[in-house]
Symmetry: C2
Subunit: 203 residues, 2 copies
């Protein structure tokens, strides 16, 4: 399984903070949405082997982790607005529930998530890491990355301690959603996925 864990230290954790007409001004919720869709969608299909964890630590009710699983998710469309509506519903739901098929919400911070991921290969993306093609990460692994402001120094230390390798994916900095697209394609070439097409679930 491919897993992505993305740290959003300023993204909102209460639904009233997510304004559909101003997702960038809503703690960069536009980026949270694009990370979700780029992790889980390819052309006309859902990546059923992929899971994305969105660690949200902004106001008013942090921390919350929203986990979206490709195997279970329904009605995930590639645009930001409908994704924001799904994720906002998750922020309105009680923790430890699945308010939409394949979208889970719970109280979990980075330490909790790293504890759960023990045993998995873990790669941390950072501009000072080793080249992707040199590290050759496994397709079955967890990839951890920060948002546009990056992890805190404390999170950075924790991640370097847990990571099997620190990876840089190119000579310039990319948006988190772009990093995910680049990683996916690298792993797709390494081991081509065999997705069963389900036309009922995509656009």
């Amino acid at each position: 399984m491919r897993e992505f864990l993305v740290l959003f230290n300023h993204a909102p954790t209460s639904p009233d903070r997510v304004r559909l007409k101003d997702l960038p001004g809503s703690g960069r919720f536009d980026l949270v949405c694009r990370v979700t869709t780029q992790a889980l969608l390819y052309s006309h299909g859902v990546r059923t082997d992929t899971v994305v964890h969105l660690l949200l630590r902004g106001p008013d009710d942090p921390p919350k982790t929203i986990t979206v699983t490709g195997r279970r998710v329904r009605r995930l469309y590639p645009d930001e607005r409908t994704t924001a509506i799904h994720l906002r519903r998750a922020l309105a739901a009680d923790p430890d529930t699945e308010p939409h098929p394949g979208i889970f919400v719970r109280r979990a911070d980075l330490e909790d998530l790293l504890g759960e991921m023990k045993g998995a290969k873990l790669y941390y993306l950072s501009e000072d890491g080793r080249d992707l093609e040199e590290v050759e990460p496994e397709p079955d692994a967890v990839f951890v990355l920060g948002d546009h402001e990056g992890p805190t120094p404390e999170q950075d230390r924790l991640l370097r301690r847990h990571a099997d390798a620190v990876i840089s994916i190119g000579p310039i900095p990319y948006h988190a959603d772009q990093c995910i697209v680049i990683l996916h394609r690298y792993l797709d070439v390494k081991r081509p996925p065999e997705y069963a097409h389900d036309p009922s679930n995509v656009m």
Copy 2:
């Protein structure tokens, strides 16, 4: 210079067809927006060496080509909604104008654009093409791709006739915006860009 030409045969050409609350239902205008931003933005910066041409052929006033140049564009943000507002304004403007800095609109169909691009290296993306890493495209080139429904048979024939090579970029089909991210990163590694950082123009 890197150029991307993306064919949207169903995307609207009149501004009233672009509904901000339903970009997917607006002839997949969400994809038009993501193609624009993924072509021109990296983390905290604009790709000043890149140009994207959006060939729109849907209702009610086709064809229109919107060209966005990284060197000139201002206030381009990574979210779909503000990009849709910029592009909708271009659809409302008279042809052969620049209604927003760096965003040009004109009457031009595929034949016109291919005529203008004569002399440039031209690569056409198609699932039956040769592997990206085998073709090794030049960074200074035009990359042509279709949207989620692909080019028409006539466009396909025209593009195969003009292309220096037909490229496949991976073992599964990707969204047009994902293809652009993958191509950019391939070219970035091949020849690292040196972008001057302009903090006034990005988020």
